[in-house]
């Protein structure tokens, strides 16, 4: 199947973030394992969808301190088959932004 379902990916990623960060408070010592877990779990679930895509997943976790943060992306690809989705999540002490980029493999 060659269609990337952004809503489906959005839900998958949101659940992964919830399960890793859930009710945790920002902890500098744990951020490394958290971001690693979020990207790995997201990627694993995306692959299970069984679509012929290469995936790139990025995750940024930032401590909430009032500072502003912006994220943007620009892609050179095939707009008919490739797509992306962004999931923003936050709790009391941190912000998390996950991007999923799906690049079609032509078989």
């Amino acid at each position: 199947q060659m269609i990337f379902n952004a809503d489906e990916a959005h839900n998958i990623v949101k659940e992964c973030i919830e399960s890793v960060l859930g009710k945790a408070d920002y902890n500098h010592n744990k951020v490394n394992q958290w971001t690693a877990a979020i990207v790995e779990q997201s990627l694993t679930h995306l692959v299970k969808l069984g679509k012929t895509y290469k995936y790139i997943v990025t995750c940024a976790v930032m401590q909430r301190s009032g500072a502003g943060l912006h994220t943007a992306s620009s892609c050179f690809w095939d707009t008919t088959t490739d797509a992306s989705c962004t999931v923003r999540w936050e709790n009391r002490t941190m912000n998390c932004i996950v991007n999923v980029f799906a690049v079609a493999i032509i078989l």
Binding site: V61, A67, L69, H70, T71
Partner: protein, 107 residues
């Protein structure tokens, strides 16, 4: 060469970030469009040094320099023989930026 040269792309990213952001000051209204135009600029500059047949995903995080901590992680499901990525960071007293370019080969 016909492969994604991560070192070369990183240099391009570093140069572009430094020359564009230089002594810029963070502003909430200006930073959102700045992040977008940066992503587009970096994507087009990276395209010039990357061999043909590569799709590119360029991602930029632009934030206010404060007391907070930020960690960015990414994972990809791809072909490690041909696909790769490069990233660069920039900071001054007012803002910081993290840029990543992933290159995915397509047949």
């Amino acid at each position: 060469g016909c492969k994604f040269d991560a070192g070369q792309v990183q240099q391009v990213l570093e140069g572009a970030l430094a020359s564009t952001l230089g002594t810029m000051v963070y502003s909430p209204q200006g930073s959102a469009p700045l992040a977008q135009s940066l992503a587009e600029l970096l994507r087009s500059q990276a395209k010039e040094v990357v061999p043909p047949r590569y799709k590119l995903v360029c991602h930029v995080l632009l934030g206010q320099q404060g007391q907070q901590s930020l960690l960015v992680a990414s994972r990809a499901l791809w072909d490690p023989e041909s696909d790769s990525f490069a990233s660069a960071t920039f900071s001054n007293t007012s803002l910081f930026a993290v840029a990543t370019v992933h290159g995915v080969y397509f047949e």
